[in-house]
């Protein structure tokens, strides 16, 4: 008398014939990095576009509300622009140092 329970269990535990190729992990790693690079490029492009829009809008505002007469007067608002830029960069830096790095340390 055959032990059907064992035969079925053995069948259910049998590995499928399908095996991923040996270089599967290398190919997926490359693909993931490629996708990351593409999305990073997209991100930088959007940032650049955003900066152009902000710069254009800023100039428009400066001409309209601050009363600049010509591009020669733009130099007058450069210190203010530098200050705003420094604040944004500072926020980014502290966000990375205090928030994101801490997150990675907690995971480790």
């Amino acid at each position: 008398m055959k032990n059907f329970e064992k035969i079925i269990d053995d069948g259910l535990k049998m590995e499928p014939d399908f095996k991923l190729k040996l270089d599967f992990k290398d190919r997926v790693t490359k693909l993931i990095r490629k996708r990351e690079r593409l999305s990073q490029r997209k991100f930088y492009l959007l940032i650049a576009l955003g900066m152009i829009v902000v710069f254009g809008t800023g100039l428009g505002i400066a001409f309209y509300f601050v009363g600049l007469q010509s591009f020669a007067d733009v130099g007058k608002i450069v210190p203010l622009a530098v200050l705003i830029g420094a604040i944004v960069a500072g926020i980014q830096y502290f966000d990375k140092k205090l928030v994101k790095d801490k997150m990675f340390k907690q995971l480790a």
């Binding site: 064992k6 035969i7 079925i8 069948g11 991923l20 997926v28 995971l107 480790a108």
Partner: protein, 181 residues
């Protein structure tokens, strides 16, 4: 390197850690995908997509469950969606008509076990998945509940019904072989 260190290294952009990570779980993903998809090219592509999704979502994983359970959950959803999209799973359990060869190659236990694999391939996707997770990958009932989102009673019922049906067919087949011999 434990799981937490491995995940942290992967998230920090370490290519070597990412390769180790994929190598560690590729067998699990391949099992689940291979049960649902028949074509090797589709299988490979789906496995690839599963790992891309896992990588993209890895920063949302907070070790509330085992990493293997979480990866299996993603693989399960993607495999089921693939089956639905390609209309691979259009039968319900009671209406499955098993394609049984005239006779199994021999009456040896190993051939009968291979015959079991062929029968499992013909079951509806959810049954195949539950059987694979339980028998091949050794997940517990609560883990299968987490992975599939099915109630525990349904998981147990699927396992019981599938095994009973397989047993009936195998016994009939073995009987035929004896009569032929």
């Amino acid at each position: 390197m434990d799981e937490k260190q491995l995940v942290a290294s992967v998230l920090s952009g370490d290519d070597g850690a990412l390769r180790i990570f994929i190598g560690k779980y590729e067998r699990l993903v391949a099992h689940m995908v291979a049960r649902v998809v028949a074509n090797d090219l589709d299988r490979e592509e789906l496995c690839q997509d599963v790992f891309i999704k896992v990588y993209e979502k890895l920063d949302t994983f907070h070790f509330d469950s085992k990493l293997s359970t979480w990866i299996a959950t993603i693989a399960f959803r993607m495999a089921v969606n693939f089956a639905k999209k390609k209309k691979l799973d259009q039968v319900d359990f009671d209406s499955v008509e098993f394609q049984i060869p005239d006779h199994v190659r021999s009456y040896e236990d190993e051939d009968l076990s291979r015959f079991v694999v062929k029968l499992v391939q013909q079951l509806p996707t959810n049954y195949k998945m539950v059987l694979t997770l339980f028998y091949l990958d050794g997940f517990s009932y609560p883990e299968i509940v987490d992975i599939t989102g099915m109630p525990e009673g349904t998981v147990k019922n699927y396992l019981h019904r599938a095994k009973s049906k397989l047993r009936v067919i195998i016994e009939e087949q073995a009987q035929k072989e004896v009569e032929l011999a």
